[in-house]
Symmetry: D2
Subunit: 479 residues, 4 copies
């Protein structure tokens, strides 16, 4: 994965737990969010629900920064908790957008954590505003909360309100919601973002974006939520509403398997680690090459590299040492330093690549700049040939479903052929995984969203610019 | 003023500035809030409006803590800014209630800062909730924002919407509001809390809770807003709406003069310093005594002490040294240490009181505990007689208009006669200012709220407990 | 006292406590240092000695900042503690100079806190260096520690070593030292800096720079140490060594009485508050004027103002409100803002000065810039005439005994007559206290150091520049 | 490597740079220390020498925490810089021991950074103390500094003084020292700790504990310093003194290769990565087993696992996902949580191990507790058999040369046979690398220290307890 200039970001991770007995659900959520930290590193939040009394703490920072022991402890015990990690929007207002959002409405409090992106949030927001609604944030989550609360006026239960609200939502959403007495999880009918259900030995129900968060709280993975499913957990047990399921084909974001998710997570019954190895094996099949060693760009390229090595018979090696101390406060080298070859995050192991023909596996090329630097580093370390293999197809279109793969202008594959890219980044050969093989990553027939790879948008998409209505200056009247 | 066990807290200070030219309004607001810091020390916030684009920063802490230089600088330049200092509610949720609140609605953004307390916020909140509104905070400010936004649907301008909303609000409110293009100040028809209008040499309009904040930004005090007045400042100039004025008698909180406001502020044309001296003079008249020296409890008792001294002819002296380094992070002495006579905030000047008959002036007695300790300290320092004079009547009733003078149970004067209190706190004599003289503090006829002194509530008051609806646990259904 | 541009700084405050029973001596020292905070606001340190095991914490910041509860608690209990507050030197190295210094030597550990300034530290340092000594700091304290340790090689006890070291020290030093089993206080033979002895009810012995720190720990002032005296406290009781006493006339820094010390402290049997009032009375006698009101610049000018008022019969008033929230992180107004009249620390009370002939009392004028601004502020507030009276003579010479009254170049009185200064700062008349009256401040014959007022240096003084040997660049050899 | 209960810690990393032109040597040192962060995570320090004027900043924390941009920037430019990372001693005094130490002596300033541990520091310290020396820290570094300064009295140059001091030092030391005009590196005659020399394209000379720090500043590895070598860099170039070389056999700590060093470092001409692979291959030879997959405990077990896989023909796999967000402020799970199987740092990839016979490679077993938990985790994830192979011999003796492998009592291998350990930690078989193979890790004859594996101490060792002289309470005299 490219670094620094252009990282791809999953926008969020969600977590929820519901226990029949009052306990330290804050700590469970802390551990769960900690395991989901790779899905969002800019802000974190936990809301504890103790029989209808909500305590919350949300702030900018990593989970470990937002929650020093005394702040975690201050959340107290409860039956239900909801947590969230996210990439915050930038600017001085970014604190306003931390999640879970906690609101008061006529039925009490509600906490809501959201992973994904609506494609019709602006029209929905306008409709709400025209009726006098006010918004504190610029998040889709607040729009969703409004719809649920307004449906609740007419519906007999919170889950019925969620179901009715879902009739009005378009796009990607994996939600975890706490009402005073219930924990509710819901996934959009296309299932863009993952969301799974687990159970702890004490019977506690857990919802999480990825199964690695279940492991982190000692819960067993029961199953993924179906696209469109609503699951309710409360003192009476677990109930499911599948009325929105099956109306449309599933469209799981395939980049979850390729990059976003942790290798130890299992999504739709498929080990992420295994899917990546499979990608490597497909690459070996599609783009074979004579070489001495296969190395992966850590961490997300390692499994695919191993897959390539196994399928090709070329030895696998550990080609880079990654500095584990790169944090958010780290001072990056200047441009001048970088040109001298300084890369503090990644350093090639000279022994492994010197004088060798190297197959280098990464999961994507966005702009190509980081990639080019990594390759230059390998050359300086003595690599004789570099054959780059990318475990995904080229990015050619922006994502509207909760990642920041943005405007086509920034995507190198939109302006250049594969041969041109190979020359730009300085490799001897370059091969991308085909769209067909990408769709086969889980080893069985399954519906994926491949919009960013040119596979087409499964929904209508937002009109350009409509999202930033309040970020532009208004014209001032003449004085 | 009593300390530690029971401080009386003003709940907020508000500030706003509107300039015809874009400038560093963030710094002006910083200076203004800094001068209003005594009105609220738990959180601070500034919103800068740059032609409709709002940047904000609000957090828990003193003004100087919330705004290190880089954060203040990050707010950028603008034409309008709104600021707020407040006492945050306690608990893990307190960050949600920082102000100014900033919301998006169908006409753009709005920032709102509020000082005071509504007496009908719960019924208003219920009405809004029943129509599907959601609340992010438990503040009255959000209720007010809702009403304004909903009136805006029907009204031709933001100021008309404010005016219409005021028809529905009861209680105390001094508001400063920024719409995309206007700065609006409004004061409730009874004028419980102060709010004044100033002008800078460059023509910029400033609103502030107290005139000391005008001094802090180089602005001249123009006048106080009338009770019920709405003033609008924008690129076209300053306009006023007095349609809510004069419908009811004014009820300025008299404790603003006695304690809350800074001595260098001028409220309703009266110098706070002068009002306090007058209180001291009245006390000398009501409760004369033979003594050697008059001293005041710093800082709010000093002016009254000087007034007592002048009126009585007894020499004034500076009887205490106050430690200026007591901050929020200070470790207070243990109970055991206190009983040994350790008081780190205040130390008597032995030279001044030793062997003397002392008149001690303070502005209030709440529970009596701090007071008793201060007096014990004076005894240890050798005071022969102590005659306490309080520059206000006894507290006997809670305040619903924006201060935390709470339930009668905690008020010593509700359970004891003046003679009993004198004995409890250990003085040779005790005298309170009469309600009549209290009403005469500004030196002319004027309407005050004296509810906390038993003067009666000028509005209906909230039903007990209704405010904490979401703070109590809900009964869980049997499983 | 002038502010911002040119504050006069006392360099340090020292504190020590010795208890026969193990107790929370860290907290006692915290309270003591807190009361001495005015003597040094840049760094603070506490060393706890628990039967020879020393725990220490010293850092840059106010006492309340350096010691959050967990850090204070971590120091544990002990029999002896030593504390220090100071003005740190600037630059990135300043952390190295925090005190008390704690060292290991052949007899165990030693902690040492020092207030004052040696005049022969450079020659002493050179002698030590020439024998191979290394220095971690640039403080005099380390030089003193070295001398004591080296004398200890020859002397039978730590107190004998202190006594022998004193034979070699010149200049100002008030020391508090802990050896493994003893607490020792020593004062230079001229007694430049104050140092007093107190006793707690539990028998614990306390040493402190000022008696206000005794009050803060519930100790009674026993007496000041004699100039040249060494007092030892340990489990056997208190012993004194007066062998260095009386060899020379005492030279207490008179500016301790005028400005540095807290009004509630008693130095050499004289209340600081009373000395200042006396200064005001002398001023009234030396420089009478017809006026309507006497005001003091807070806080150090208030007592003198009261003294002037009493002696002259002109009414005393409280002319300024001081903002109590000015801390170290405060963002000061820009020069442009200041010229608009913004002063966030001090605001005149218009009511008090408007249309009046004002006598303004301050304790010093250094450069004159702050003074001029304060006076401009009074003019803007409507003062008709301003007659400034300074409760000390003009500064004309640098101090080498532990304050930062530095090179004559920065002192306005070195370049201008009183009349010129009056014109520069913008007052109608100006009068300084005479040197004769300054020497009479305690109301009886007593030896003072008045070197900064031109009274002559009682010791030889350091050669210029010798102190900064390691701060200047060395010439590089040609390559 | 075992985690949490018992981590093995390298005690320090050192870095120095000397440039002929003044430049941002602080940033170079920052990058170098960042690459050496794995050698010490408790404190960090940088000293910049600008023609004899030293600026320094040393504090507790990671490099990125100690040096926010403004602090790094404040160090300014210079010709020479010295840096250090370390494990601080615990307790409130730990700040005193941060490095590099900076001292003043008769020839100017000196900064010194030290990696290693003297075995005769106590006798040396006693000798110094007996001559009246004082110590501010409890580090060996200060003893070394003293010896150098005292030799400097007799020697013509700083390098000659270092050389003379080395005659008196015993044990492990890799030093980087800055005098006003020179940068000096020195390595003890046995070469316990690594130290290498590099050069930047601009000619700048760099010294570092490991070559990965050279890569981080764009420098090429020239060579390792010889055991006993002193290298001097200054404006005149680079000079070497090998007079201490070859007096004794080299004794490089073999655990540097096995665990401490980064895989991308090259030590004594051997790639650390390659040495670890070789360890894995030796293990496959010594302890073969039938299995389905070979996995390594990240990160230090991965290379050895790959070596085992290659040599045995059993497939290599990535068996664990490591959470990259575990930092110093992380809240670890409670014991109860751990027993539920919660391990937030490491999670097995179920797909990889389920139903498999697993060879698990780690680099050491200390107490066995962490190990046991990791194995239980693998069992829960479905591993059918677990065969543990350790890429080093068992620990049986404490280390006195700069790591914290301590008293034999805590070492499981001291109390149990290999079979017993296998049963305790729950594996089906267990094999350690033999001492013979350990000595062959670099692929050629070379002298190693293998004392901790029972290979015997190459020097005399310190007497027990002598180090903590000042940490024990002294007996108090009867009162």
């Amino acid at each position: 994965m490219e670094q620094e200039e252009r990282h791809l970001h999953e926008e969020c991770g969600v977590f929820g737990v519901c226990s029949s007995k009052k306990q330290d659900v804050a700590s469970l959520t802390y551990y769960g969010l900690f395991a989901l930290q790779h899905r969002g590193q800019e802000s974190a939040g936990i809301v504890v629900n103790d029989e209808g009394v909500f305590s919350s703490c949300c702030d900018v920072g990593l989970v470990s920064e937002v929650f020093p022991p005394q702040r975690l402890h201050a959340l107290g015990q409860g039956n239900i908790a909801v947590g969230h990690v996210r990439y915050a929007t930038t600017g001085s207002d970014h604190k306003r957008n931390v999640q879970p959002i906690v609101i008061n409405h006529f039925k009490g409090r509600m906490a809501l954590a959201h992973n994904g992106n609506l494609t019709n949030s602006m029209p929905l927001r306008h409709q709400l505003e025209e009726r006098g609604s006010i918004f504190h944030t610029t998040t889709d989550s607040e729009v969703i909360a409004y719809l649920i609360v307004q449906e609740r006026l007419r519906q007999p239960s919170i889950e019925a309100a969620v179901s009715a609200a879902m009739d009005r939502l378009e796009g990607a959403y994996s939600l975890v919601i706490s009402s005073p007495a219930k924990l509710i999880a819901a996934r959009d009918p296309m299932g863009f973002r993952p969301l799974c259900l687990g159970q702890r030995e004490d019977g506690g129900i857990v919802f999480a974006s990825e199964s690695c968060a279940l492991d982190a709280v000692g819960a067993k993975l029961v199953r993924d939520l179906l696209p469109g499913e609503i699951v309710v957990a409360d003192a009476q047990g677990v109930r499911t509403d599948t009325s929105h399921c099956g109306r449309t084909a599933p469209h799981l974001c395939v980049f979850e398997l390729i990059y976003f998710a942790r290798p130890d997570s299992v999504i739709q019954g498929c080990s992420v680690s295994r899917a990546r190895e499979r990608a490597g094996a497909f690459l070996a099949q599609e783009h074979p090459v004579e070489a001495d060693v296969v190395i992966g760009v850590p961490d997300s390229g390692l499994d695919a590299a191993l897959g390539y090595a196994r399928a090709s018979g070329i030895p696998y090696a550990i080609g880079f040492t990654k500095n584990r101390y790169v944090g958010r406060t780290f001072i990056a080298p200047t441009q001048a330093m970088r040109e001298e070859g300084v890369d503090l995050k990644l350093n090639p192991v000279r022994e492994v690549v010197e004088g060798k023909r190297v197959v280098l596996i990464d999961d994507s090329i966005v702009r190509g700049t980081t990639c080019r630097r990594t390759i230059a580093m390998l050359r300086r370390a003595g690599a004789k040939e570099i054959h780059m293999r990318v475990s995904a197809p080229p990015f050619v279109a922006p994502c509207y479903y909760g990642t920041d793969i943005d405007s086509g202008d920034n995507l190198i594959a939109n302006h250049h052929t594969v041969e041109e890219i190979a020359e730009i980044i300085g490799v001897d050969s370059l091969g991308y995984l085909s769209l067909e093989h990408t769709r086969a990553l889980v080893g069985r027939e399954m519906g994926f969203c491949t919009a960013c790879f040119g596979g087409g948008y499964p929904t209508s998409i937002p009109q350009s610019g409509e999202k930033d209505r309040f970020e532009y200056k208004i014209p001032r009247k003449p004085q």
